[in-house]
Symmetry: C2
Subunit: 577 residues, 2 copies
């Protein structure tokens, strides 16, 4: 059997930064070339970043991407790397719009492509067939589907190339991989992390390897892009389903390995398959170490996803530091630990903003946390800032409670504007689901690190992070008291969250049923929850859609996150739920 040295580069692109993203690919190509690779593949849209959303409908953007691919081919050649075939993902266009009859509406003019670069030129191009248009994906909106499979002949091996969703659909290009008798299937991906996704993704890759009787090389991008976190976790699986190599999750990485695919056959090609023969050059190929990363456990994966999502949002948007209120409660404590892990404690600014209703422990727990984590910390009591509004406008009840949260936001935003920190908002998914927050108050901020983390999981992650610190001989960042005390918004005397809400275990279970599993009222009740609680909770969820629409983005880690993953009307008068 022929032998190929295969390199997969897990790069971390920024949407739009064609020059920077190209440099990442060039660096990977240099390393792959040095390692004697016969072929390098980078992820889907590694050149442009992903998702590009409606940038795909701007001709100037598509022209720039098209030109950047040609430019990258030349740069590779100029750098002496021209003999290495590089498969790179990028948008291409503009093409004639997909025919939509007489509609004058904007329509797709782009394709989601994989180009093969060698010797200073684009040797071949594949366009994605299957365009995901569910969950966070809007690809049917922006792309024209391709309809021809690409097979590269390299060193006597037929290498089929497809893109992400193409692997997930039965039929289509995957079926033709088998018909074309390819020895290696390269799949370039931009597949975002969500909890337990690897338990679907890896078996799929394995199944396809067995079905198509090929070695499958799955390469994914890595990094945070707005509300998505791409986890890398690139993997190569042989035709019997065994893992040959695996890149680490959440890190840039170059995976290099030797594979021994079936030699190319001389059978006639099936319909709609284009075969391109690439020049192969003998290289010096030294020995390689096995490179099979071990996936960490569930909570560590989640923590790492949140850290990377936050870090990349801050850094890619060129902020140097973050600021947020530290209440002594669990949400802001977990955000502080995440922010310190993401950016280093010296880039984290926290403010304790006690009101006249704040307990002693809210100050002391915040002090304790600040000391443990080593972050920048100050105290701004708000009572004398609140009082003039309350008196002048005669506010009481909920209006007076919200006022305190809004005065805190004015303080944090003032400090942000004056000193250039990004404001984080520390609300969790449970709170956001039921609207248990003050709009323009505690919900104010540019990024919400735990937006997709239900309250019960916030506690679980806090405990895990402390145990993790202990296991490494470090100080646990989160005060035990912040974990164990009853949660409170402290907006009126002796308030606790459970004055207004069911116990969090119940609440999170109902929310999981109603939101993630999309069960109706009757089916949620049938799970064993009482009718009154279910009606109360689902009513809160539906009525707070307007707040969520104005909420900050935050990293998706669940099957259904708030945002473009779950699109619902604000104006909604349910007859039934």
């Amino acid at each position: 059997m022929p032998r190929l040295r295969l390199a997969l580069a897990q790069t971390n692109p920024i949407v739009g930064d064609l020059a920077g993203n190209s440099r990442q690919i060039l660096v990977a190509a240099r390393r792959a070339h040095d390692a004697g690779a016969d072929l390098l593949a980078v992820g889907e849209m590694a050149l442009s970043g992903y998702p590009i959303e409606d940038l795909a409908s701007r001709p100037s953007f598509l022209h720039a991407c098209h030109d950047a691919v040609i430019h990258l081919a030349k740069e590779l050649q100029d750098a002496g790397l021209g003999d290495l075939p590089v498969i790179v993902g990028h948008p291409d266009g503009p093409f004639e719009p997909r025919a939509f009859g007489t509609s004058n509406a904007p329509t797709a003019i782009a394709q989601n492509c994989a180009s093969v670069l060698q010797h200073g030129h684009v040797k071949a191009r594949y366009a994605k067939h299957h365009l995901p248009n569910y969950s966070v994906f809007d690809e049917y909106r922006i792309f024209i589907p391709g309809d021809e499979l690409l097979v590269l002949r390299i060193k006597g091996v037929d290498v089929a190339v497809i893109i992400c969703e193409d692997l997930w659909r039965d039929g289509g290009p995957v079926a033709r991989v088998l018909e074309a008798d390819a020895g290696l299937l390269v799949v370039i991906n931009a597949s975002p992390f969500e909890r337990d996704k690897t338990e679907v993704r890896l078996p799929l890759v394995t199944r396809r390897a067995i079905e198509t009787d090929t070695i499958v090389a799955y390469v994914n991008i890595v990094g945070g892009q707005d509300d998505l976190v791409f986890d890398g976790d690139s993997v190569v699986v042989d035709g019997a389903g065994g893992i040959l190599a695996r890149a680490p999750q959440f890190d840039e990485h170059l995976l290099v390995l030797d594979v021994e695919p079936e030699a190319a056959s001389e059978n006639p090609l099936p319909d709609r398959v284009q075969r391109v023969e690439l020049a192969s050059i003998e290289r010096t190929q030294g020995p390689l170490a096995m490179d099979v990363a071990i996936l960490p456990d569930d909570r560590e994966q989640l923590w790492n996803a949140l850290v990377l999502g936050l870090r990349d949002y801050v850094q890619k948007n060129r902020f140097g530091s973050v600021i947020f209120g530290l209440s002594g409660g669990i949400d802001s404590a977990v955000c502080a630990a995440l922010a310190a892990d993401a950016l280093g404690a010296s880039a984290v600014y926290c403010v304790s903003l006690p009101s006249r209703y704040s307990s002693g422990h809210s100050r002391s727990d915040a002090d304790d946390l600040a000391e443990r984590v080593g972050l920048n910390y100050s105290v701004q009591p708000i009572a004398d800032l609140v009082e003039p509004f309350e008196t002048r406008l005669a506010l009481d009840g909920l209006a007076a409670e919200n006022l305190q949260a809004r005065v805190r936001a004015v303080v944090l935003m003032g400090l942000s504007n004056q000193h250039g920190h990004l404001v984080l908002t520390t609300g969790n998914k449970t709170e956001i689901a039921v609207g248990y927050s003050t709009i323009y108050g505690d919900s104010a901020g540019g990024f919400a690190p735990i937006k997709d983390v239900p309250k019960t999981l916030v506690w679980e992650l806090a405990r895990w992070r402390n145990e993790f610190a202990v296991s490494r001989g470090e100080t646990p960042p989160i005060p035990d008291n912040s974990i164990s005390k009853p949660p409170s918004a402290e907006l009126r005397p002796d308030q606790t969250d459970q004055d207004s809400l069911p116990p969090y275990e119940t609440l999170d279970a109902i929310l999981d049923a109603y939101i993630t599993r999309a069960l109706g009222r009757e089916d949620v009740i049938a799970l064993g929850f009482d009718t009154e609680t279910v009606d109360f909770v689902t009513g809160l969820v539906d009525r707070s859609e307007w707040k969520r629409r104005q909420g900050a983005i935050g990293p998706k880690i669940s099957g259904i996150a708030f945002g473009r993953d779950r699109r619902l009307p604000i104006t909604y008068r349910p007859t039934t739920r």
Copy 2:
């Protein structure tokens, strides 16, 4: 030729309110029956409201819609209206998910349907073939396409039924209407208003009537639903392209007319056409007056769209009143006139919030407007509320400017929470495009009445509204001084908008090129704008995406509105624009 009395009901549904929407249809059916109609059609999704977005992925919602159609058929029968065939739009399901291979992602389980009700039963059902997935539409995300055309035989006439986008696409069901030799084509629609859309829509209807050699009856829903305003404007066009009847824009209406379509032929049906014969009963049909509404001019159409969008958002979400800051400037003045037209002046609460930088005219112009419009008006000077923050936090420059806007928001939100008014935010499209606003400050509010109105159009509409008042012998609502004075945010001494921004005529022209026409930097410059200004403006637009994501919704009136019409990343580092 046979004669049919046709009724088209332009109803105003609320998303989710199956009982209320059914009542509207029942009322229309009673009136159509009384008028001797042989057939009634209501709009696309008139039963559920439109767009339903991801409600389409909840089995409980689909079951409720399915049941509501059956219930409506029974109610029509019980009300003695059973002999009148009623074509009603609704979602149906849940069906087996569209096959997506091995993906475990949520996928479409619903269809976008037209059901035909008669004698207490659902006699036939059509599912929309073409699913718009561009602009504000996400139908490919949520619906399974249909593939069979429906033809009803009523009183010797073959009546084809299709839904909205089906009419816009060449081929598909429209082509089969001609093959099936139908005499009448009923198209049910949920087609939102945008400026100049009628100049595309009416010619399309006319063209299809000529192409298919049928009378085309186009019925649209009416009303505001979040950021969309459905304009009604239902119309019937004969096979020669002449308008037989037309319903008014922006109003609920029942259009009744007699048509004389070709008699049904006995030719064999083409493939994928289902024909259903309906019982026809002789009715007493008195004479009918011609009903051809005249479309008002462009500015009146725009004003009416904004009024209806605001009124329906407020009323459908059960607010009794609105509140916002009155600065004396043109934006808040136009919002006040719109709100008074939408809700009556007694439901409009305005607050003048002068700071130490506010000019004398800002107070006097606001006073003048309040008096002209007759709205509820109070004054809350903010200097002493601002000062404690400014001093304590040592804020200056932009941080101090933003502080004033945020203190105003705290006042308005406090009054909103205390008294139950909906807060409006009065920013215009130009401001929102370039981020010339303070987040959690003047951008705070639940609804943005002029969100999609560029600054130059705000002035134009103000002048039009005043002229309109004069033409009716009424007091012009907007003070001349608010129209003629140089715009200023008044956040520092002697500030005007043009300290920070190009002249509004230039700015709006660049924004139209960059946003609406999606031109790249080079092409915008080629229109004759100077490079520095183009780079400055397009840079501002790209950098303020994060603010827009947290902005209030407001009625879409243009080809590309901010929101789901234009989906762009926040994290974006453009190599080129």
